[in-house]
């Protein structure tokens, strides 16, 4: 069997699984797929009939741009800022995180048009610019928070406080994983954990199986997948004793059977993860494409993350989120020294992202893989101090590619300074609704009953933005 999960026999349908479950032990083998939906002895509401419609994307790769890249320095050119550079900012200024607002600040970068669509992209992203026709650029995203953590929780979970399930957990909850050897939601941690911590990847009130499994792009990758026994036989010997002791147990029910199946899956994961991590077999061309041997260490790290993301997609993992590697200086959070800080962060991710898009495309995977590039907010068009930009949730840019979105389009607009969204402003809830839609899920029907209330990723908000869908 090919290690690529796509070549496995198609996953058993939930209806079929239910039938088997009602009939007796049949469901047990699927426990790894569906986690405790079975183990807990009940199916959460709504899940039995998923997906709700034909999905456009089977997997999502979420490129989380920690700290908030500046829209006017990346994908949303504002010549007006150049004209007014160094003058008092002409609009009324909302409260900012540092309350140290300076003068109008032009972008230090030049923009040029790329691709057939002619997307303007700044010099920060020479490689991504070559994929311009794949990008669906949204220039009118908004957030509700000016603080990193609230905005991060909001971006990830739809609520500005910790404790709710993150979007990857919802995807895993809704659709499960297509692989039996890997979890449905993987976070490739490049080194920078978002402000707000690992809670950004939590499963909240969803079953724990849906929480993001943290995978480091080097070493063993995941916690607990490396056997501590010095030789493989020793662990096998133990597990075979466990199996025999479990077999003798008087009470056998779904929970016990699931736990036994989980142990088998865990055993397999000890091989699946190293196999995933083993990228030595990748061709020289591929290595070059991603920038695995780049001069800049952070580029190498992110290249590895992007390559692993592709390998995870190939294996059928549902949702993959990438966090940024540490560069010299801070994450995309340039409260000062914008030029150097953004340059370094862009340098770390530009080539790997372009490599990922091209590699996915050449393998025919981009059509069914939704790639999302987003920070928790954008940055101000006026300076913080003299050469930084403060947080700006009032209008900023994200982009999507592949997985059923219209490449080469621009959606929405900010005002002439790039401060606030003025045309088709979107909320994070709309992003979530649209992402779920592309995955075949109706955000109003993907729910779980918590203490009597049907909870969903979009709470009571969110609209699918059909204009973005190809």
């Amino acid at each position: 069997m090919h290690p690529c999960g796509r070549h496995l026999p198609p996953p058993i349908s939930r209806r079929e699984m239910l039938t088997r479950s009602a009939g007796g032990f049949g469901a047990v083998a699927m426990a790894g797929l569906f986690g405790d939906a079975l183990g807990a002895g009940h199916l959460p509401n709504g899940v039995a009939t998923l997906p709700h419609h034909v999905p456009r994307a089977r997997s999502v790769i979420f490129l989380y741009m920690d700290g908030g890249p500046a829209q006017m320095d990346t994908f949303d050119p504002k010549p007006q800022l150049t004209r007014l550079h160094g003058q008092a900012f002409p609009m009324e200024i909302e409260a900012t995180q540092f309350d140290n607002n300076g003068l109008t600040l032009q972008s230090p970068w030049q923009f040029s048009r790329h691709g057939e669509c002619g997307h303007p992209v700044s010099d920060l992203f020479p490689h991504v610019a070559t994929c311009a026709d794949e990008l669906c650029v949204i220039r009118s995203m908004t957030s509700k928070f000016s603080e990193h953590t609230n905005a991060n929780y909001f971006l990830h979970t739809g609520l500005g406080l910790a404790g709710r399930p993150t979007m990857g957990a919802w995807a895993s909850y809704g659709l499960g994983s297509e692989t039996r050897d890997l979890p449905g939601f993987v976070v490739l941690n490049g080194g920078l954990t978002p402000p707000g911590g690992l809670d950004c990847f939590g499963s909240g009130f969803l079953p724990a199986t849906h929480q993001g499994s943290i995978l480091k792009p080097d070493g063993y990758g995941m916690a607990h997948v490396n056997p501590m026994e010095t030789d493989g036989a020793s662990q096998q010997r133990k597990l075979s004793l466990v199996e025999r002791l479990d077999a003798g147990r008087a009470t056998r029910n779904d929970a016990i059977e699931s736990a036994i199946a989980n142990q088998e899956m865990a055993f397999r994961m000890q091989w699946a993860v190293p196999e995933l991590m083993g990228i030595d077999g990748e061709s020289t061309l591929t290595r070059q494409l991603y920038g695995l041997d780049a001069d800049y260490e952070p580029t190498k790290i992110f290249a590895r993350q992007c390559l692993l993301a592709r390998r995870l997609v190939e294996r059928g993992v549902r949702f993959i989120e990438l966090t940024c590697p540490a560069v010299d200086g801070d994450r995309w959070d340039q409260h000062d020294n914008l030029k150097v800080g953004h340059q370094n962060n862009a340098r770390a991710v530009d080539q790997p992202i372009a490599g990922l898009l091209k590699d996915l495309k050449s393998r025919g995977l981009l059509d069914e893989t939704l790639v999302v590039w987003a920070g928790e907010f954008g940055r101000t068009p006026f300076a913080q101090g003299s050469d930084g930009r403060d947080h700006n949730p009032f209008g900023y840019t994200i982009w999507m590619a592949g997985g059923g979105v219209r490449g080469g389009m621009v959606y929405g607009a900010t005002d002439e300074y790039g401060y606030k969204a003025v045309e088709n402003p979107l909320e994070i809830h709309d992003l979530h609704a649209t992402m779920l839609h592309l995955m075949g899920l109706d955000h109003t029907r993907l729910t779980i009953n918590v203490g009597g209330r049907e909870m969903r990723l979009t709470d009571v908000h969110g609209n699918v933005i059909h204009d973005l869908v190809s």
Partner: protein, 919 residues
């Protein structure tokens, strides 16, 4: 097949009580219709309410939504089954399931009765039902269970084996496995007197200090207990663990539940606080830490929003924990499903606006105050002996009115709040006093924290005021003290000054000087000032002004009068005589607590937005609690609020707690949605039983008594193997025909490993053990050093609860994220759990320790295996298991030393399902 089961189950539930069927209807209408046709007027469509009988039967153009006895003519039925999706209800949603339509149809057919929602009704004391099989009744509660089983002709499961019951009750009460000694003692005792043996065991367990740890942990899940604030830097919540220990102590001492509730809401206001016998500390106050385990961000751009979010979390936890009400749903609009209005939400918020967080200064046994009074007296005598009271009256200088005088303490300041021991009484003008061995004369009215002793600690807080100036000015002197302005209750600038740079000032200048604080950004916000002396220093405060620039105001009392001539040597000698007393003054114990501030009524924030203030919502409890609350003329009124929760008229508090206890012991609450007793919650499977338990519970509010009657009942003693016929009819066990298997909690799994290995340190209470940090635990706020892998052998309860660095082994096994009330944990069953048991270094380490101990304690392999099985599973090995284990440890293909093979056996036992599941 599955449809049949669902229908049968509905039938069973429908047959149970009057609440049963109607409750199902109510849940259905609530979940499908109330969002547009429920209690919230703002979002109501077509002016139709379906949550009241009037609304259901109201006359519409085409008839009435509900015509009792006539489903065909009921508009409700017509609309939900309509073919045209534009007409069909619910709008823009999938149609109701067939069973749901049938449920409504049957309900209307049968007369569409619409009694008050079961949870709002007074607690009934239902008669104990008559049953056929009276032998099965060990406690009256069994009759309620058996009556329903008999009416459906279902047989309860057989009784569990005594050792199975022992392991079950031992874990349920203490969270720890029974030791071989306990097992052997119990078995011997059971041989002679089965009933007595059970009772004696339960009494022993109830008396164990570990009881409070197990039940305390359940409670901590409700109050989102954490020791840090999470968010970007995961700043600490100081003294949080004092609350944790208070909870453990309260369960161990069986503090009555009504008192337990009151002390968490208003332990600072109770008239006679409980004293902890061991420490002599006020043991009612630490319960109020309950309010303050919210998460927090360090530099909120909109601090009022931050406060509103914090209060929402506080009220969410308050409502769910004590009353099973989802009160915070009413923050932006009237509750969609339950009769809780928005103004009632803000009426509760007023209690918190009228209260303040503080780190209280507790005085062990009153010894600090007693010693200070001795010192006060001695100092008075010294002053009298060296000063003749005829020095010249100091002259107040006229002040130019460029600033607003906020406080001068001359003939005012009675509404200030003194906390701790240092701020005893204000100095009057011309009063002579001693400070640091020197004589001083106060030039004007002022507060001084060094009069009694520089070692005394305390805080002085102003009344709340609205900021109306750009600058606050203080005329102060002191050392090692602080001035803080607390704006909208925001305190996290303690750790990160961003946006609140001037709000916190350190005072280290012993001459009168000017301290200015720029607060103009917060004009219009409510604030208070806090002067604190938390060490061996002191602070004196003379005047506070407000103005719109930074320049020093003209102070009223500008100059201190000259100190009269006196014999410095005599003074020195006199001070020498009290030096020892002063040096041995104890430091107060700091505790996270609440206190009353200036009473404030909260206005309604329209649509939850603080920028659109609405009418005032006067403090009071929601009418649905059925226990109206008096608001006193002064103070926050929290005590009265707390008392209303446990008043005889409140139908919720006793039911909610009785249900929680049942949930923990039986694996599922009689009301499955333990934190929501409203319309969206699950209907009770046994309302009469719940009311029976609540009635008994309320008679003495004894949690231990309630636990005792349940665990000694026959219902609790049922086997985890169901009777096959009963299982077929009632697979969900809604009628309680068996006691289902449970997985151990995350904490118990870890604690059991420590118990098996012998590493368990049974110490109760104390500061938390630093969290062990793995490579995967990254992010800002990561502690500089990792805690020990095995947590020093302490129970999991004592591992540090850092929001951003929770213990992975515990979260993998469903320890909840501390965000809000989590009365019912997830019960997940995932590969990550197996991976942790297989490869976590902690698990390996404990297996090795276990082996080392067993090899020392026993010489014979059979005895070793026997003991290990007893310790792991609470039972000896079967013959087959013994053989398997023997074969395993003597496997000649396995090289390596003896102890490795025994550690491998221990590790294998940790990985068996029996180790983590409880029959």
């Amino acid at each position: 097949m599955s449809t049949l089961i669902i229908l049968t189950t509905c039938l069973l539930v429908g047959a149970t009580t009057d609440g049963g069927r109607v409750a199902e209807v109510r849940s259905l209408l609530a979940s499908k219709c109330y969002a547009c046709h429920g209690p919230d007027a703002s979002g109501r469509q077509a002016d139709l309410r379906l949550d009241t009988m009037e609304g259901q039967r109201s006359h519409r153009r085409a008839g009435a939504p509900v015509v009792p006895g006539d489903p065909a003519n009921s508009l409700l039925l017509q609309r939900i089954t309509h073919d045209d999706i534009d007409i069909r209800m619910p709008a823009e949603a999938p149609p109701l399931e067939e069973e749901e339509v049938t449920l409504l149809q049957d309900w209307i057919e049968a007369g569409a009765s619409w009694p008050t929602h079961w949870a709002w009704k007074p607690i009934d004391n239902p008669a104990v039902p008559v049953v056929n099989n009276t032998n099965w009744i060990r406690d009256p509660l069994d009759a309620f269970v058996l009556a329903q089983l008999e009416s459906e002709e279902l047989a309860p499961a057989a009784q569990a084996e005594p050792t199975t019951w022992l392991r079950r009750v031992h874990f349920d009460l203490l969270g720890l496995p029974p030791s071989p000694t306990i097992i052997e003692t119990f078995e011997a005792d059971y041989e002679i007197d089965p009933e007595g043996a059970r009772e004696r065991l339960v009494d022993t367990l109830l008396a164990s200090p570990h009881f409070g740890e197990q039940w305390g942990r359940h409670w901590l899940d409700l109050v989102r207990y954490a020791e840090t604030c999470g968010h970007e830097f995961d700043y600490p919540i100081p003294h949080a663990w004092r609350y944790r220990d208070w909870v453990v102590r309260a369960f161990n001492n069986n503090v009555t539940y009504d008192r337990f509730v009151i002390e968490q809401i208003a332990g600072d206001l109770v008239t006679s606080p409980r004293m902890d016998g061991a420490t002599g500390l006020d043991d009612s106050l630490p319960g109020t830490g309950f309010w303050f385990f919210s998460q927090g961000t360090h530099a909120p751009v909109d601090v009022r929003q931050d406060e509103a979010d914090r209060i929402e979390n506080q009220l969410d936890v308050f409502g769910k924990t004590f009353t099973g009400l989802t009160i915070s749903c009413a923050r932006c609009h009237d509750h969609k499903f339950d009769p809780i209005r928005t103004d009632e939400y803000y009426a509760l918020a007023g209690y918190l606006q009228s209260s303040r967080r503080r780190d209280a200064y507790l005085d062990p046994g009153g010894r600090i105050e007693a010693r200070l009074q001795e010192l006060d007296q001695a100092r008075r005598k010294i002053v009298q002996s060296i000063v003749t009271p005829d020095h010249t009256r100091s002259e107040d200088l006229p002040t130019e009115e460029t600033t607003t005088l906020l406080e001068s303490f001359d003939q005012s300041g009675e509404d200030w709040f003194s906390d701790g021991q240092a701020f005893d009484a204000p100095l009057q003008a011309d009063q002579a006093y001693l400070q640091d061995d020197m004589l001083h004369i106060a030039g004007s009215g002022q507060w001084h924290s060094g009069l009694r002793s520089p070692r005394a600690q305390g805080a002085l807080r102003s009344p709340s005021f609205t900021i109306e100036n750009d600058w606050l000015h203080h005329r102060v002197k002191g050392r090692g003290a602080r001035i803080r302005v607390i704006i909208d209750g925001f305190r996290l600038n303690e750790y990160n000054p961003l946006l609140f740079e001037d709000c916190l000032k350190q005072i280290d200048n012993e001459d009168w000087h000017h301290v200015a604080q720029q607060v103009g950004k917060y004009r219009g916000h409510v604030a208070w000032i806090e002067y604190s002396d938390d060490g061996d220093g002191w602070i004196a405060i003379d005047e506070i002004h407000g103005s719109d620039d930074a320049s020093e105001p003209s102070w009223l009392g500008d100059v201190d009068p000259a100190v009269p001539e006196h014999d410095a040597e005599r003074l020195n000698a006199a001070m020498e005589s009290i030096r020892d007393d002063e040096a041995s003054l104890e430091a107060p114990v700091r505790v996270l607590a609440i206190t009353d501030g200036t009473p404030e009524e909260q206005v309604v924030y329209l649509r939850g937005n603080h920028e659109t203030p609405g009418p005032i919502a006067y403090r009071g409890s929601p009418s649905i609690m059925r226990s109206p609350t008096e608001v006193p003329a002064s103070g926050s009124g929290r005590l009265e609020l707390a008392q209303s929760l446990v008043s005889a008229r409140n139908p919720l508090t006793a039911r909610v707690m009785a249900n929680r206890v049942w949930h923990h012991l039986m694996g599922r609450g009689l009301v499955e949605s333990v934190d929501d007793f409203g319309a969206m919650g699950r209907a009770p499977t046994h309302l009469d039983l719940l009311d029976h338990l609540a009635t008994r519970f309320r008679s003495d509010w004894s949690v231990k008594d309630l636990v005792r009657v349940i665990v000694l009942s026959n219902t609790y003693a049922m086997s985890s193997s169901a009777n096959p016929h009963s299982l077929l009819i009632d697979p969900e066990n809604r009628l309680l025909h068996y006691r289902p298997m449970k997985r151990l909690t995350a904490e118990s799994i870890r604690d059991s490993m420590l118990a098996s290995s012998g590493r368990l340190d049974p110490t109760v209470g104390g500061p938390p053990v630093a969290i062990h940090l793995s490579d995967h635990m990254t992010g800002r706020g990561r502690p500089g050093t990792s805690g020990p892998l095995d947590g020093n052998g302490r129970r999991s309860l004592y591992l540090e609860v850092r929001r951003n660095f929770l213990p992975p082994l515990l979260t993998t096994f469903d320890m909840p994220t501390p965000a809000t009330t989590a009365g019912k944990r997830n019960n997940s069953n995932v590969p990550a759990q197996s991976l942790a048991l297989m490869n976590d270094p902690f698990v390996h380490e404990q297996a090795q320790r276990w082996a080392d101990r067993i090899l020392i304690e026993h010489d014979v392999d059979e005895a070793r295996i026997h003991t290990m099985f007893l310790e792991a599973f609470g039972r000896p090995p079967t013959i087959n298991e013994q053989a398997l284990a023997l074969e395993f440890v003597s496997d000649s293909t396995e090289s390596g030393p003896d102890d490795t093979r025994w550690a491998d056996l221990g590790h294998a036992l940790f990985n068996t399902k029996e180790f983590i599941y409880l029959d």
